[in-house]
């Protein structure tokens, strides 16, 4: 091999320029965005920091999410894996390869330590976020697997089944999770593929999910995208800029759980795989669709009037009761009807091909970060299952809960405070 090492980092210059062009194209396709709200996106996000990236980071357009089970019984092996993952994640988010050598610079008679499909691609604003599931602390028989049972956060239990759920165990739960978000699906898939590869022998994949088209807005620099029902989604989401709301609703506080000091500054992550009955929805009249949602399909304004960001007026009366119906989605999940509770959603659309009767196997892969699932997710989901008119067109096919530790400092590894604190 001659010449300089070929790495993604080496291509950063050209890559950044290409990202700029792509960004301009994306902005041009939006319906007349407010120019001040379309900030130039960073080419990459640092892996190290006070918080893990991929939570309040402006949501990228592509997702590869994986849930894994730990197969080893050796605590040291688990820690070694977390260290290896930390190194690989730091390299890949910076545009580098998974291993220190790379896809093409190693010996010819050995498999490369990077799979290579992201060579020539820019970092794609990749973020990699790790979480720990309840099964990491105690197994199904209540056994303390790695001496962590005493540090299991009280809120970290398997989620209950909600009414109308048709959960598939093969798409639910997991001991660990990794969320990779990027502008380019190949960059996200590359990251998960290589991390899973590093984990072989220590972990096994339980399920994974690809997503495209973010369905929420996590920064005021972003415009609101649409879900597969064609409606704007995430209008009222908590934004990265709302630091007070984040402290109140997203980040675990110092006093929250004495057993889980290692989680302070982290968060909880809920995933729900929501299948939408697309074909049936598409036959609903425009009026009916808008009444299910409680907003207009065009601008996303609440039915009580105004523009997208106008606060809904639930008391405003229409000809047959409230103008925003009592069973409309926006009303059922609104903070005003849920003790002021807000969550930070980070969901993605998905289409996993077609089902066995030719319908789209499609929907929304719901991701939310929140301070405590017992106050910030379970009551909300219960209200939705019970009262939301939209439920008629939704099927919940998978779910999981993870504790997401705070960020990783230079020289540290993911979850170090859990294992060594």
């Amino acid at each position: 091999m001659t010449g300089g090492r070929l790495s993604r980092r080496g291509l950063l210059g050209g890559g950044a320029a290409a990202a700029g062009v792509a960004g301009a194209f994306a902005a041009g396709r939006l319906a007349a965005p407010d120019p001040e709200r379309v900030a130039a996106p960073a080419a990459s996000y640092p892996f190290h920091g006070e918080r893990q990236a991929g939570i309040v980071t402006p949501a990228q357009d592509r997702l590869h999410f994986v849930a894994l089970d730990v197969t080893t019984e050796d605590r040291d092996e688990l820690v070694a894996l977390l260290k290896a993952w930390t190194d690989a994640a730091a390299r890949m988010t910076g545009g580098g390869s998974a291993g220190p050598v790379g896809a093409v610079d190693g010996p010819g008679n050995a498999p490369p330590d990077d799979t290579g499909e992201a060579l020539d691609l820019p970092p794609g604003r990749l973020t990699i976020t790790f979480g720990f599931g309840p099964g990491l602390f105690v197994d199904a028989d209540g056994k303390d697997r790695f001496g962590l049972a005493e540090r299991r956060p009280e809120a970290l239990e398997r989620l209950p089944r909600f009414s109308a759920d048709v959960l598939d165990p093969a798409r639910s739960d997991g001991d660990l999770c990794i969320q990779a978000c990027a502008d380019d699906p190949q960059v996200a898939v590359h990251a998960i593929r290589n991390l899973v590869r590093i984990g072989f022998g220590t972990t096994t994949v339980r399920w994974s999910q690809l997503g495209f088209g973010r369905t929420s807005t996590t920064s005021t620099s972003q415009s609101t995208p649409r879900n597969l029902f064609g409606f704007k989604d995430g209008t009222a989401n908590i934004k990265a800029e709302e630091t007070e709301a984040l402290d109140q609703h997203v980040w675990v506080g110092a006093q929250d759980d004495a057993k889980a000091a290692w989680l302070v500054g982290g968060s909880y992550l809920v995933t729900r795989r929501i299948n939408m009955t697309i074909e049936v929805w598409d036959r609903q009249s425009l009026d009916a669709q808008e009444q299910f949602i409680g907003r207009t399909k065009g601008t996303g304004a609440p039915l009580s009037g105004g523009e997208e960001m106008t606060e809904p007026d639930f008391s405003m009366q229409g000809s047959a009761g409230p103008i925003i119906p009592v069973d409309s989605h926006v009303r059922v999940v609104h903070p005003d009807t849920n003790d002021g509770v807000r969550i930070l959603r980070r969901g993605y659309n998905f289409v996993d091909g077609s089902n066995d009767v030719g319908g789209l196997d499609a929907g929304l892969f719901f991701i939310a970060y929140l301070r405590d699932p017992r106050t910030h997710f379970i009551p909300l989901q219960r209200a939705m299952s019970k009262s939301d008119a939209l439920m008629e067109y939704l099927r919940f096919t998978g779910q999981a809960l993870f504790a997401v530790p705070p960020g990783v400092g230079e020289g540290e590894y993911v979850g170090q405070a859990l294992f060594e604190g």
């Binding site: 209950p160 036959r283 425009l286 304004a301 009037g305 405003m316 009767v357 030719g358």
Partner: protein, 398 residues
């Protein structure tokens, strides 16, 4: 099994919205220039109702109504007597725009904006002028509408009465421990429920008590499971893991409860006077669409009858109900969109012929006997019908 918002709210309205629809599907007659003259804008503020024109050529007119005030507003096109509603669009929130599409023959009219939805509204004269491509609005439409409403009401009442009779019989068999006979009657009694399911579901209090499936119940939140499907599981426990049969006393509790709820449902459906249910033409059409939606969402997937697997009885009953509702408005549709009427009639027949292949004696084969190829064939037939059927309401009310 959930409430159909539209039917419930439509049924609550005494006024029949005649010849009106807020849809963009309605055909626009003539060329561009002519179409433009028929496309009007309305600005409805707190104290004004500004139209882009005070006259338009006969045919399909559209009014883009923008609420520039701060109260909810409505817009009406009224007949020359200022009373007859030719078309209306309700519930326009501040700063929002909604479209009214209406087929108006030559004549004198009034327009009215009603900010705050109270009072007479801000009225002005409106003229529809002669046009070559005017579509004749049949004088007998009102007759057809009246007839459809009367017939549909009678149909719902008849099915409800039969449901009550069969439920009584079923509960007696079940409480008396005659399980084989109860099992045979179960899908037959439920046919009457499934034929009028969209009406039954509009009673949000009774529906979950009567027709909730086990998967719909949030036991973790303390919800209780009652009704048809609770008894179904007790009669067909073989698929349930570690199931404990209900005691005789428990059977009586669940049986009596089911009968009480079905009796209450029938009471509401048979009510007269000011409590009488009305079925506006759009509710009938929406009912037909809604029943096919039930098929696509729950029956075709085998979710409804998780223990007895008698889903095809429900499937047939939903299709029966949809067909009857459709046939009620068919005469009206033939005057407005004969092509759609022809297509729907053909697609209903095609779906029925697919279903007929799965008949077994007086009933049907069990859902568990179906192959993926069978359910695919049924799904295709349901989709082929549902897609044009979704245009029914807009077509009969335009």
């Amino acid at each position: 099994m959930r409430i159909k918002t539209l039917l419930a709210s439509a049924a609550a309205l005494a006024v029949v919205p005649m010849l009106s629809a807020c849809t963009e599907n309605a055909s626009s007659g003539g060329g561009d220039a002519k179409a433009d003259a028929r496309a009007l804008t309305v600005g409805s503020s707190a104290d004004a109702c500004e139209l882009s024109a005070t006259e338009a050529p006969a045919g399909t007119l559209s009014f883009d109504v923008t609420n520039t005030g701060s109260d909810v507003t409505e817009f009406y096109l009224l007949g020359s007597d200022g009373l007859r509603i030719v078309g209306e669009v309700e519930n326009i929130g501040p700063n929002l725009t909604k479209k009214l599409t209406v087929n108006a023959p030559e004549g004198d009219y009034f327009t009215a904006c009603k900010p705050g939805m109270v009072g007479e509204g801000i009225r002005a004269a409106f003229k529809v002028t002669h046009s070559e491509d005017e579509q004749a609005v049949s004088a007998s439409d009102q007759e057809l509408i009246d007839q459809a409403q009367t017939n549909y009401r009678a149909y719902v009442q008849d099915q409800s009465a039969q449901l009550l009779v069969k439920t009584k019989e079923f509960v007696q068999l079940y409480e008396g421990g005659k399980d084989d006979e109860a099992r045979a009657l179960y899908p037959v009694a439920r046919e009457h429920w499934e034929r009028i399911e969209t009406v039954a579901e509009s009673f949000g209090d009774l529906d979950p008590l009567t027709d909730a499936r086990e998967a719909d119940v949030d036991f973790a939140a303390g919800e209780k499971w009652t009704g048809w499907h609770r008894i179904e599981k007790d009669l067909w426990p073989q698929d349930a893991k570690g199931y404990t049969a209900l005691t005789s006393a428990e059977r009586t509790t669940y049986g009596d409860d089911l009968l009480a709820n079905v009796t209450e449902l029938d009471g509401r459906i048979q009510a007269t006077g000011s409590d009488a249910l009305t079925y506006p033409i759009d509710a009938i059409a929406n009912g037909s669409i809604g029943l096919l939606e039930e098929v696509a969402n729950g029956k075709i997937t085998g979710e409804e009858e998780a223990w007895s697997h008698t889903d095809l009885w429900d499937f047939q009953a939903n299709v029966d109900g949809a067909r009857v509702a459709y046939e009620g408005v068919q005469g009206l549709l033939e005057g407005k969109d004969p092509e759609l009427a022809k297509e729907l009639t053909a697609k209903f027949a095609a779906l029925q012929s697919v279903l007929d292949q799965y008949r077994d004696g007086d009933g049907f084969v069990l859902y568990t006997d179906l192959t993926p190829a069978d359910t695919k064939k049924m799904t295709d037939a349901v989709n082929a019908l549902s897609e044009p059927l979704s245009k029914l309401t807009a077509a009969v009310t335009s």
